[in-house]
Each structure stands twice: as C-alpha cells, then as structure tokens.
C-alpha cells in the first residue's frame, strides 16, 4: 500500500475549532474530483456512496458499493505457476441511485461550463451528512441555487437518500430535473498503476424492473459471481404548480423527469429514497428481492428525510461517546482525527458477518479487496471502540475458513491459509511473492482474535469461532516451519509486512506473530477443551505448538546491536539514497524488485511493527537501537508505515518525530499525501492514526492481556482525551503535561477496571477518577535520521 509523502496540493487553510466537526470544501476542485469523492464518501458498512456530484458528471470515479458485492474476472499470467489464482474478485458498482441532473433552459448544470458563483460541500461528522450548496449561472445567463443533503442511513442498512432543491437566483427559469437510477455506469480506467482497480465493462445483467408512479426498482445480476442486486427508488416531489413529470425506463435505467418553470422563492424540491438489497442468485428470486428493496425505500419515504437525519444523529452521538478523541493544541489534526474516526465509524457499521475492505466502501482501489489492513490496523481500533464490529469481521473470516482450508491444501500445507486479498473468500493475489507468501495475514487474524478476547473477555466467541481460527492458523505455522540442528524453529521463504523484501527467511514480525498465534491457540485449546476436541486437537498437538513457539528463531545482529528484519537483512547492501531522486518515490514505480528486494530499504514498518505488536519481546534498549536503525532505512512508500513508526518513536522518546508521523498518518487522505486518495480512503492509515495517539502518546499496551498505559505527550499536544471499552466498561483517559486521569464515566462504584500507569498498578472504580502524575520523558538523544528527504513534514 504505497504512497508518497509529498503532494502538489496547496496546504489547507488554518482550521478553526469551529470546524473540527466538519470537512468543508469551497472550491469546485475539478482536478481533484476523485480525491474529494473519497473524502465525502458516505457509508454504513453495507452501502457506500462516493461523494460524486449529484448531477453525476464530471466525476473522478463514480461509485456506489455494497459490501461483498463483486464480479469475478479471469487472471492471466505471462508465465503461469502452480497455485496462482485464476480468478479475482472485483468490486463493481451497484446501480447508482444518487443521480439528480438539472437542465437550465437547454443547458445541463455542469461545473465545467457556465459560471460557478458559489460552491460549498460540507461533511458533517456529527450529522452524518454531506451538504452541498451551489450557485451557478448557465452559459445562457440563467442563475440557479441548488442545495442538497445526502446521507447513507446508519441505522437502516439498505437505505440512502438525497434531499435536493433548486430555485432561480434572479428571474424565472425553465428547468428540467432528471433523477436517474442507473446501472452499468461507465467507469474510467484510473491509471496504469498496479495498485488501481481492474475495470469490468457492463458488469451487471438486467433481470427485472418495475415502475409504480414516480418510483421503481431495478434488479440486476452479475454473470460469474452469482450475485443479485435490487435497487429501489421512492421519490418525494414538491414542485410548483404546472410542473410536468415523466417516468421512463430501460433495462439499465429508471428515470424520473420533472419539468417546468421556476420563479425566485419558489423552489422545486425532490427527495430520493433509495434502498439496496443483495442476495445470491440461488437464494432470492428477482421479484422477491425487488419487493424487499421497494418496501425499504417506501418505508423510508413514509418516515421522511428528517427521520433519517434524526437516526444519523442518534447513531453518531452514541458512537462518538466512545470514539471521540480530543486533541487540544492542533486544530488541524483535531479535525483530521475526527475525520478519520468518522470514517471508521461508518465502515464499522459492517455487522452481520461482513468485514471492512481496505478502502471501506469509499472507492474501488485494490479492486475493493479485503487485505490484512483489516486485522492489522482497523480491528485493533474497533476492538476498543466497537467490539461487536470486530467480532463481526472475525466471524466473516470464520465463514471463509472452508476456502482457507482448501487453499492450504492446494498449497500443500496443513491448517488454513487465509487470502492475501479477496472479497468472496478465495485468494485473488496475482503476484505471489507479495501475496501468497505474506503468510503473516494468518497471524494477524489470530492476533485480532486474541486482542478482541483480551479486551472483551468474550469466551463464548473464543470457543465458538475464535478457536477455529487460532487452531487452523497454528497448524499452518507448525507445519510450515522447520527445526534446525540447533533446536530453533524457523519460518523460511515468507514475506513480511515490508513489501520491499520478499520471500525471506525468519522475518521477525512473522515469527513473533506466529509465536503469539501458536501460544494463543494452545491457551485457547486448553481453556476450551471440548471445542478443541471437536477440531481434533489433542495434548500432543498443543505441546507441539508450544515447543515451536518457544523455539521460534529471532535473527539478531550482534555486531550492530539490532534485530534483523529477516535473516541476513543487516548484511544486505545499503540503498543508495544519494542517487535516489525526489521523483524516484515511490520506489516501486521506479526500481525493479531485483534492486529493491536485495537491499536494505524498507517500504513500510516491519521490524518496527513487530515491536508495536509484540512489545514484550524487546528490551527498551533494543527498541531504541532498532528504531534508529530502521528509521534511517524506511522510506514510507506505504500508508501503513507512519502509524507504527509513530508508536515506537513515541515509546523510545522521540516525541516530535512521533507527532509528525502521527500527522502524516492522520492527514493521509485529507491532504492526499500519497496521491491515491481518489481510489478510496486508506482506512488502515486512519485507524493507525488513532493507534499513533493512543498507543504512541497514551502508551496503551495490552498484548499480555492486561491494560497498561505509559503516557507521554509531545510538545504540540496540550491535552489528549480518548476513550475505550475494556471488558464492557467505557474508560476515559485524559492526559495533560502534568497528569493522567483515568475514569469510568458510566460505571457505578461497584465496577472497576485494573490497569497500569507507568509500571504502577491501578484500580479505577466507577465515579472515582484516578489521577497520576506524568513522569518526565528521559532524553532519548538526537532524533534518528530518516532517509534524505523522507522525514515526515515538521509541524
């Protein structure tokens, strides 16, 4: 997941406190349409609408996605190989129900023509809406004011809606309002970049359509993946007398046209209520699915748009109670972290055994695939903020255990190997050294299980679901690894998180995570013996896991006093930064793997990520030396990198560096640092920003099942407030330069949470905050140098 840190984007203006709950864009930003479409994307984890303009065009990338809705396409290889996936899933747009086009006289409202007097869009992070205000003078000189408010309902998962109004600015105008429900909308080829999505032309086949009055429904299916989608629209029209209306339908389009003359002060109003239903073609017939969608759309209309607004607010109020972070001292980043959390809240509505793709439902980058980003970055946050969602996403993995077992058998390995990238559950990675070889995804899933159980105590989930995931992945590691003559357990030929090394031996991250996986499986099997017996686990197998875990080999360079990212890493040739130009980043677009793989250049935190995930495996001195060594070699061509680097930089005391890394992580999309925001938001980077704050400056650790904090604030933050759930209790942590305050705002005095503050055990009881002083941060010495030109921007 590469990125460049630099962007030719003009710096955002200063953000006032007032704006910390809103993302506002007042420019039309025609050359940044794709980027703003991602930023203004709305979703509820099931339906996602990109922030395309109401009138549809121009667009960067039109998109209305349903979680898990995809088509398959064939992969072909110049030189095929055994086990190379032959099919890939690609997220395709459901029919677009957001379109409301306007003709003023004979001219379409189009920001590329006429005169744009005012254009403003606001994403309201508490209201869960995008509002738009436009004053536009047509080329013929007719002025109109258009307002719209759109939402994707947070409480009602099939529903999305747009409230839209137009009125003349000056004299009367003839208008035609065209509200489309449109399938198979043309999608542009985004780029040659290997990270962009594949384009399937006309992925949907029309099966059924129906109109009733102004309203209607379209049912389509995909040809290969066997999915069916019904989209219904119910309109609420409020137009002046004399307006005519017409409904027109084709297999791929339902069109409501309203036409008439508008006078100033007499707006025409239209509310579109859309509802999406999706099912496997063999599960629900077209008419039945259509009925479901129509009912949802009509119910929404019956309740009214204001009711939807109220519903948004209620869900968000509840979500923000735990999710909000207050960051005093930096208004821009205060806004940015709320933006980040808002999108996590949206994505985190994906309940019902669904998961969260790398881009959420904000774009089709990476083909809309689910990657390890989910378990590696997003679930560790949602485990604290919305544990039910973490559980749901893990259940989704569990539902695809059969495919993971099949894949392991295909690879001639025991247990299960989960896909590197997928929508439907099967491996879709077309480049095995950075896909199939990334076996750590299995340990990431196991780690997410262990974290979820540790933070919630949900033993029922562990026995019913988590154990299967732990056991099958433990079996993989046990069978994949081998013992050396000296009694060490090795994992050779795998790829760790850093994609600038591949197919290496004993990647420290992978090995430590495998150790955690093996031990977690052993513990869980012993705690739930009946469930373990169902899986055929016996004590000998458990003993084997423990023995392997204990013996896992961790390569360490004694001479340099640092861990090796993988065996031999520190003896590889150094990257020639002196001969690497600014334009050579991201390196993967300018150098062959032949160069990247064999050199000490790190795309993204790998050894550093190992220290974040498994902090107890390293001493404080090792961490400091490792941070310095790898900082100098990490180019952060991936948006996944800044956050773990921030956490470790904070831990070893380089708080300003940590803060700048946090800023890079949290601004990834708002500032489009990698020029890839147009493909969809980087949810892992946004989640990582929360981790950077809470693990970095809050010093939260829980890898050993106990909750501990070693808080330390950087100079830029005056006060940091965050919350998290721990065993069902909402814990509030308030950090200032002087003190740390721990409290359970919702709990009664009988309830308590045990935690550690800088090594001191505390018990926090309902109604009684515990306040402790912040110890001084020891001087860590000079900041370790980053590669030339690659330090995050100073704030």
């Amino acid at each position: 997941m590469p990125q460049t840190r630099t962007s030719d984007r003009p710096p955002a203006g200063p953000v006032t406190d007032d704006e910390s709950w809103r993302i506002r864009r007042t420019e039309a930003d025609l050359h940044r349409l794709a980027e703003t479409e991602s930023i203004f994307a709305l979703g509820n984890g099931w339906v996602g609408w990109r922030g395309n303009l109401d009138e549809g065009e121009p667009y960067g990338m039109p998109g209305s996605y349903l979680n898990g809705f995809y088509e398959e396409r064939e992969l072909s290889y110049p030189e095929d190989g055994y086990g190379f996936p032959q099919l890939s899933d690609t997220a395709v747009s459901a029919p677009n129900a957001a379109l409301i086009r306007l003709w003023v006289g004979d001219e379409p409202l189009d920001l590329r023509t006429g005169t744009l007097r005012t254009h403003e869009r606001v994403l309201d992070l508490r209201a869960g809406t995008v509002e738009r205000y436009t004053e536009w003078i047509s080329p013929a000189g007719h002025g109109v004011r258009v307002r719209s408010t759109r939402l994707v309902s947070l409480p009602r998962r099939p529903v999305a809606a747009v409230r839209w109004a137009v009125e003349p600015l000056d004299g009367p105008v003839e208008v035609r309002i065209v509200a489309d429900l449109l399938a198979n909308q043309r999608v542009p080829e985004r780029s040659d970049d290997p990270r962009a999505a594949a384009v399937i032309t006309d992925p949907l086949t029309a099966e059924y359509r129906r109109c009733t009055g102004h309203d209607g429904v379209l049912v389509h299916r995909t040809e290969r993946s066997g999915q069916r989608v019904a989209v219904a629209v119910a309109h609420q029209v409020d137009a002046p007398d004399g307006f005519g209306s017409d409904v027109d339908r084709t297999p791929d389009r339902l069109r409501l046209t309203l036409a008439g003359t508008l006078r100033p002060g007499e707006p025409a109003r239209l509310v579109k209520f859309a509802a999406y239903e999706c099912a496997r073609v063999d599960a629900t017939p077209p008419e039945e699915l259509a009925d479901l969608a129509v009912r949802e759309a009509e119910d929404a209309r019956a309740d009214g748009f204001d009711a939807l607004l109220t519903g948004q607010r209620a869900v968000l109020d509840a979500a923000w109670r735990v999710a909000d972070v207050q960051l005093d001292g930096d208004a821009e980043l205060q806004q940015a972290i709320r933006f980040a959390i808002f999108h996590l809240i949206q994505a985190g509505r994906a309940e019902g055994d669904r998961t969260i793709p790398a881009k959420g439902l904000t774009g089709n980058g990476y083909d809309g695939h689910v990657l390890w980003d989910t378990e590696g970055y997003v679930l560790p946050v949602l485990t604290y903020l919305a544990p039910r969602v973490a559980r749901s996403a893990l259940r989704w993995r569990h539902a695809h255990l059969p495919e993971a077992r099949e894949r392991a058998a295909e690879l001639r390995l025991p247990g299960a190997t989960f896909p590197w990238r997928t929508i439907g559950g099967r491996e879709c990675s077309g480049y095995w050294p950075a896909g199939t070889a990334g076996l750590h995804v299995n340990a990431d899933i196991a780690d997410a299980v262990l974290r979820y159980v540790a933070a919630t105590g949900d033993q029922e989930f562990l026995a019913e679901t988590g154990l299967d995931l732990l056991v099958e992945t433990a079996r993989l590691w046990h069978g994949f690894g081998h013992w050396s003559d000296t009694g060490a357990f090795h994992l050779h030929g795998v790829t760790g998180p850093d994609e600038y090394s591949a197919v290496v031996d004993d990647n420290v991250f992978t090995n430590l995570m495998a150790r955690r996986n093996l031990r977690g499986a052993a513990d869980a099997a012993e705690r739930h013996p009946a469930a373990a017996a169902r899986l055929g686990v016996d004590p000998a197998e458990v003993a084997g896991w423990r023995a392997a875990a204990d013996a896992v080999f961790i390569p360490y360079d004694r001479k340099r006093g640092v861990h090796q990212q993988s065996a031999g890493f520190t003896e590889q040739p150094e990257w020639n930064f002196a001969r690497t130009g600014e334009d050579d980043y991201p390196l993967l677009l300018h150098f062959p793997y032949l160069e990247l793989y064999r050199k000490q250049v790190v795309k993204q935190a790998d050894l550093v990520l190992a220290m974040q995930r498994c902090p107890g495996e390293f001493t404080a001195d090792e961490k400091a030396r490792n941070v310095a060594y790898y900082e100098a070699r990490t180019v952060r061509d991936s948006s996944l990198s800044a956050s773990p680097q921030a956490v470790l930089a904070a831990e070893v005391g380089h708080l300003d560096l940590a803060y700048d890394l946090f800023a890079e992580s949290v601004l990834q999309d708002l500032a489009d640092l990698g020029d890839k925001t147009g493909d969809g938001l980087h949810l892992a980077s946004l989640a990582g920003a929360w981790l950077a704050l809470v693990q970095g400056f809050g010093g939260l650790r829980d890898d050993r099942g106990v909750l501990s904090f070693d808080p330390r604030l950087p100079a830029a933050i005056d006060r940091l407030v965050f919350h998290l759930y721990w065993h069902g209790q909402r814990l509030r942590v308030t950090l200032t330069w002087n003190e740390a305050r721990y409290e359970l705002p919702d709990a009664d005095p009988e309830t308590s949470v045990d935690l550690w503050h800088h090594g001191e055990p505390l018990q926090v009881t309902g109604g009684t905050p515990v306040i402790r002083p912040m110890p001084p941060v020891p001087d860590p010495g000079p900041e370790p140098p980053s590669p030339p030109g690659r330090r995050p921007a100073h704030r």
Copy 2:
C-alpha cells in the same frame, strides 16, 4: 526446462548397428504426432520444417519456422511491476510450403480413416532427408502407395523441397493431388502448461501474391514486429497423360491441383521446391522480396532434386568428419548420440549473426525463444565441432548489445543485462524471479566467449566483438555486487540455474561464473588495450574487476563439508520425498513456489553445474562430497540437469551412474522422457549428451585455456571415438579400456597440439598418434543415492 524421467512410451526395440544412422518409425503413431514431428524435423538453422505429414492433417503442431521470424504480443500481469516486460516475441509459422494432399476418389488420404497397410518414416542422418512410404486403402477400397522425400537444404539456406509420388496399388484410381502453400494455418492450443507457447491467431497479413503457370509466391507481413516473409513454390509435375491441372489463389493460399486417373505402374510425381525470404518491412518491398524467393525456388528446380540431395550429403559428410561419435557397446545410444549430433548440425547451420533457439527450429515451445541453453550447453559443443557457428551466435548477442544496455539502464544497473528469453533481443520473460533475476545468463555469454577464444585463438573476434560482451557484463557484476564488512564480494538476490530456488544470495554458480567473467574481461582488456579504450575501460576499472573477482564469496557449509548452492541452502528444510508421489513430478506442476523455493530440492544441476564449468575452483574431495549431497536432492525436473550430473558423476568415479545420466540426456527426445518433445527438441539436452560423453568419459576440461583429458570409460562402453577442433586442428580421441589414443588425422608433421592426459603433458603431432594407458579408476565407494524414484533408469 522441466521434464519427467518417466514416460508411458513403450520401450524402443533393439537398435541394430545398421540403424545407427537412421531413425525409423514404422507405426503411424497418431497419438504421438507432435513428438514425431519434432524428431523428424528438418532444418538448416534458417528454415525449419517440422515433420508434419505431407497431407497436413492430422497434426500435433504444424510448423515451418524461420530463424528470427516472430510476432510480438502484449503481456499483461494481474499485478504489474516496474520493469516487467510488456511485450513478448513469439515464433510464428511462415507459410507452409510442405503440404501435398491427396484425394483418392472422393476421399482424402487421412491416416485416421481407411486402412493403413504400411507406414514408414526414416530420418537419414547422413542423407539429411526424411523419407516416407505409405500404403493406404481408402474407405471405399482403393489402394495407393505414396512415397515422399523431403529435405531442408543445408547448403542453400532459403530452400526446402519435397519429392512426392503416388501410384495405385491394384486397379486404376481417380486421384486429386492438391499442393498448397498455406499461410495462417490454424495452430492448436497445446496445453495449459506454462512452458508451452502462446498462440497468436492469424499472425500474418497478406501483402502480395503472384502466380506464373503452376508456380507462385505469397508475401505476408507481421503486424507488430514489422517483419516480411516471401515464400515461393516452384513445381515439377510428372503425371500421366490426361491429367488436368489448376492453380487457385487466395490471400493466404496458393493451390496447385492435379487430377486424373492413375493406373498401377504409372505413378504421378510432383516435386515442390520452396524458397523462403524474410526481411524487415522497411528494408525490402514486397515485390522485391517475392522476386528473391521466386528466383531461389526456380534455381533449385533448375538444378533438380537430385542436386539438392547431393548438396545435403556433401555438407553432412564434412560435418560428420568432426562431429561423429563412435560409441561401441550400446547400439541404442550410438544411434541416439548421432541423432543428437544431427540436430546440432542442423541447428548449427545458423550462420550470419543468427543464433540457436532452445528448440532450434523444431517447434515453438518456449515461444521459440533463445534461452541460456544456447551459451550454456549448445555453444560449448559447437565451439569444438563448428567454431564458426559459435562465433556467429556470439555475434548475434553482440548485435543485441544495445537492447541489453537499455535493459540494464531500465533495471538501474550498469553495463548490460542480456534477456533471459527473447527472439528479437528484448527481455520477454514474464516471471521475473525465474527470468530477470537469472543474471547468470550474462556470465554464460561471457563464458562462451572465453571458451570460443580459448579453443580457436581467435583474437580478432575477441578484440572486435568478444571484448564488448565481456566488458559490459563485467560492469554489470561489478555494479550489482557489494562488499561486506569482512571484505568479501557478494551477489545477492539472483536466481541460479536451479529454478526451484529463486532470488537467493551468493549462488555459487553465479558467483564463480561472475568471477570468470570479471577476470576474462580484465585479461581481454589488457590484451587489447585499444579496443578496451574504445569502451572507456581504464586500468582502475580493470583493477576493480580483479579485486571483485578475487573476493567473490563462495558459501560453504563446514559442518556438512559441502558447498552451499546459495547462502544458507544447506540449512533450508529438506524436501519430504516420503510424501511425494510419482505423479507429483515435475514438482512445479504440483507444488507452489512457496514450498519449492524454501526447501532443499533441486530442479536441475546448479552447484554441480558450477563444478562442471569451473572445475578448478573445487578440490577432488569437495567434488565427491558435493556430488553425493546434491545427487540426493536433485529431482531432474529439467532436461538440462542430467548432462552436468553425468559429467561430475564420471569425474568422481561413479561411472555407471554417469552412464545412466548420459543415457537420459541423449534419449530425452527419442524416448520423449519429459513428455515435452512435441513442443520441439531439447537441443541443450542433446548437446549436453555430447558433453556427458566427452567431458564425462573423455574427461575433457579446458576452463584454464589448456586442453586436458582425464578419460575413464564406464563398463557399458567398449570404445569411444570423438573429434574436436582445437586451434583449427581436428583432434581425434579414441578411448578403450586399455588405452587412450590422440591423433591429428589431417595435420602434417609440422603441426602439433599440446594437451594433458591424466596429468601428463603430451604433444600430439600430425601423423603420429600418441597412445597412453588408461589408469584404473579408483573406487569411489557406494553410489550416492538419488531421491526416491528419481535415479535415472539403469541400462
């Protein structure tokens, strides 16, 4: 280049001495058509005709190839990467001029119908022809006898011809003889095997055609590669009175039809003289190219078919004088080695800065690409048997130095990187870990230069051509490698010959060959300072090469007392042979690279090949231990493996194993051991068979520029005679159990050659054979075990 050693082919019958110069197939072999088409392929290095049946159908794979004639096709990758080739060359058939179809009554002669009374085909290794004799009874009961003789002219490179005749077996029959020149003949998809060729439908675009009487010419071009081909046919008809003829033409076909009634004893005869001309579209206009081809075809007809036969014989007589090997004691292998040498002679007619693709012109396997097989296996043989051909092939590399320099620049490396596979000179490998990373191809080219110069003393070639190749490849190694703290020079992240390991550090073969390359470049630059100055070589650069060569790191496992194929190899997990079934071979079709790459399983000789190419870098004890260690781990899924294994097994004294490995190498295609002969012959394996005999049992070594022999015969060989050119002199070596005889049959007494026999320096003078006793072979102990089921068949 994988293979399986086993085949369900019935064992060939015993071969009589009489048959040692002929390959005869008396079955129709309809289920082995592709295989026999390769075996009966004729070619002159420029034009290649597969041994398709005269009547065209049925076929395994129709093919008439021109050296260097190809079309380009786009490569697409599921996940593209920097430097991945976007185009690949694919050999496509030139218009097929060999077709002569026959209708008997209303029924086409087709071996799948009617009754085949007799069918025989003979490849005559001294005549350079394929003769066919068929007696066939049509479904309606009409019997005919058809004879044909075909050849691809060895002295006249554009010319190929067929002499064909039909007569009734019993009563009179109505026949129609249809002689086609056919472009864009349909080509079947051969298989899903990644090693098969890509199929381009209708690769040729018709540009021009002309008929004159019975004769004509077609001119076509390729669309993307910009090549033009003209094929002319001139017919000689000798039919009974009353036969009618007709000529018909379409853009893709010229057809001569002869029809009439035949009576027993009154055959109809047809001789087709075909001529091929090829040029770049911007070099020669269509009509001009057509004229050239017509002239060649008409000249051939004017001289007559018998003259062509005489020309074949003359060329082959001269070639066999040096190339023939006499192997007394094993009639089957005597025949097989002559078959192998015959195909090398054919391929080795590729003069004029052309080279020899992996399959020669016998099939389109590997897309007709040139691989390292040429410099690694074929040229080391041709350097001794046809040094001008070796020089020509190296000139072809030199002609593509510009593309190799561009490719190095693209890879951001200095010097030149030659393509892993190509026809037109650019890299066409679609899987970089087994292509681009196989940098050793550059050292193989350098090695072929050094061997050629050592064997011929051709300093002019070295100064004009060879030096450029040596210098640019030395620059690559020098820039690619790096120095460790301990002063060793390393080459990391490359792939050696063994394709079951990839992107490894310090592959011994690569490192030793790079050392040889660096030293060879340094020596040559010092010997030809003016030429070196033209390339900008100064003494400092030469000193740098020598320093790197001296410091090249060679990984060695002290504990096990063996070299490591690459760093850490002997510490990788062992392959689980106990759980590998017979049907699991070749492993690459049944296991993912994820498994293969990280384990101690060897597809093809790699460390063993290093000992063959660089024998002076290893002690005798090391060789013996290495042979034993790697024999147990080498599965020979590549046809390139048996030959170097044979050479080293012989050197360390396991002569029976060596003989069985030689047999596997030489029978690769005649017995279709890898089931891939249908895609074309394995020229490297056939050349390797010669090396197995001459380096293995003859003990020839010349890596230090002096000629030495350590001969030792296996029990199965009573007498072995071979020849080779050394500095222009034809040396004959005759080995028996008792003695070795060295002589210069063509030289006068003033002429001598210095050589070593088992450590004793000898001077062989014209007219005076030198005879030395064969020392006893020391007992090497028990034969090292091969992987279960993978020992070559005992003879």
